[in-house]
Amino acid sequence: MTDPSAPPPRYGLGSLLLIAAILAAGVGSFAYAAGWFSPDRLTPTEIIDALAPASGPSLGHRRNHAKGICFTGAFDSNGNGEEISRTVVFRRGQYPVLGRFNLGTADANAPDATVRVRGMGLQITTPDGAMWRAAMIDLPFFPVATVEAFYELLQAGQSKEPDAMKTFVAAHPEFATFGGWAKSAPWTASYAEEPYNSLDAFIFVDKSGTEHAVRWSFLPQAQVVPITAEALAKLGPNHLEQEITERVAKSPQRWTLTLTLADPGDPTADPSKAWPDGRRTVQAGTLVVDKIETERDGPCRDINFDPTILPDGIHVSDDPFPAARSAAYARSYDLRTSEVKDYPYQQSAATGTRP
């Protein structure tokens, strides 16, 4: 606009174009942040969709580990953990817990003997309001090394391609370790006889600010009685829930919280690689489960056992899984809470069976 005598409309047109360009840049950068130009970005929705079986998800239920039963009890902290983390959970004392025993399946009605992996969701709270949530499984390591590989595994599992699984295994040799475990590890007939492992490494910060890479396990104090899958199947499709209900009614069940500390150089970013034996361990306390309730009537249904909900003194490591799990669990929670009408609230608890 060098000519001061230029008519105002021309000046207005240039300005309008400038305004339009600024707005377009705003919309474009917003769309970019939202991932609309990044089709390769793995979204929580994609992970959740990939978890659904061919028959569709179990509406109103968790999108994975869909079958489960609630428990409550206490974490009896012995104070030994204070050396590793300043979290109040490790101060000597008893803290209320609620949790959920579950099967690693997207099918809320899966018969027990058809599911190889079992899990535990856990929430410990302290009087000052600190909260520690965890979602653990009995498998001592994760089947794959990366979040992307997990997504590929889900896709291969659903694929119509006959060689999809073979191709996946060839590309991800670490998956063979899971195959070996699934074949050789003993089955048990009780949630009380299973260990529950964090799998992912977390960083525990002690009072001096020193950081320790830790993986933890809740190891069963109950005697482990191995059983074959065939014998478990004969006990009925919902044996695990009936058994734990009766067992806890008779006496509380216990697990020892064992913290395993990484040696320098142990991989923290890859949960498919178990740390070698001989690592230093600290027994930080005992989980006591003294009450079982159905998921429908218990407190665990309302809880998203997001493993990144951690008390001050514990935080995530360079392991990428907790973040991915957090994002996907949130999506699962959003979906199932919006499907509350599909959740079997009306079903009679007395039958102990599921529709």
Binding site: L18, F30, A33, R41, T43, N304, I309, A324
Partner: protein, 187 residues
């Protein structure tokens, strides 16, 4: 109208531009974090929660300042429908600045999530866990975020329209960098 204050006060201008940065950051973090499972999801989520409460506090403070200090009048030459649009959009922006953090806080509460701002600093739940409320609040938070961004773009377009086309001092009333209020001849 000789001697009328033409600009917003210094504290109003500081609050406006500080909040502009906060809110735009907030909206970009929001759409970004829900679209990814990458490790950055966690720091984005943590920032979103803490920044949301910062915005809530600033918005309440700003509302107080606005009630006390008022706003410079719009130019008399501005057509009535545009004046009305300006007023309505400003009150809608205030409603969203205060409402969105509260909806987010309530949504987390209805989902039984702890509301952690930093380290051991937590906020209490403002609702009990409830599936239906969680869904309602989630939808409100999600769709109002897009409405908020659209309204901000409209606000920006109007500001630039004042600055570049009408050149009537409205843009300068918030954008002026020199000191405080000044006296100008009325129209």
């Amino acid at each position: 109208m000789i001697g009328r204050e033409r600009n917003f006060t210094v504290s109003q201008r500081i609050l406006h531009w500080l909040m502009a940065i906060c809110i735009l950051t907030m909206l970009f973090i929001g759409v970004g974090m829900v679209s990814t499972i990458a490790p950055k999801y966690l720091p984005l989520l943590a920032t979103h929660k803490a920044l949301g409460i910062v915005i809530l506090v600033l918005a309440l403070l700003r509302l107080g300042v606005r009630v006390r200090s008022g706003a410079p009048p719009l130019p008399a030459s501005l057509p009535e429908p545009m004046k009305l649009a300006a007023q309505l959009s400003h009150w809608a922006l205030y409603a969203l600045m205060i409402g969105m953090p509260l909806i987010g806080w309530a949504m987390l509460s209805a989902g039984a999530y702890p509301v952690v701002l930093y380290g051991d600093i937590r906020l209490p739940p403002i609702l009990p866990q409830n599936d239906t409320l969680h869904t309602l609040l989630w939808n409100a938070h999600f769709y109002l975020a897009f409405a908020f961004f659209a309204l901000i773009l409209l606000h920006l377009a109007a500001a630039l329209f004042h600055a570049l086309i009408r050149r009537d001092g409205v843009f300068e009333s918030m954008a002026a960098v020199h000191h405080g209020t000044e006296l100008v001849p009325g129209e």
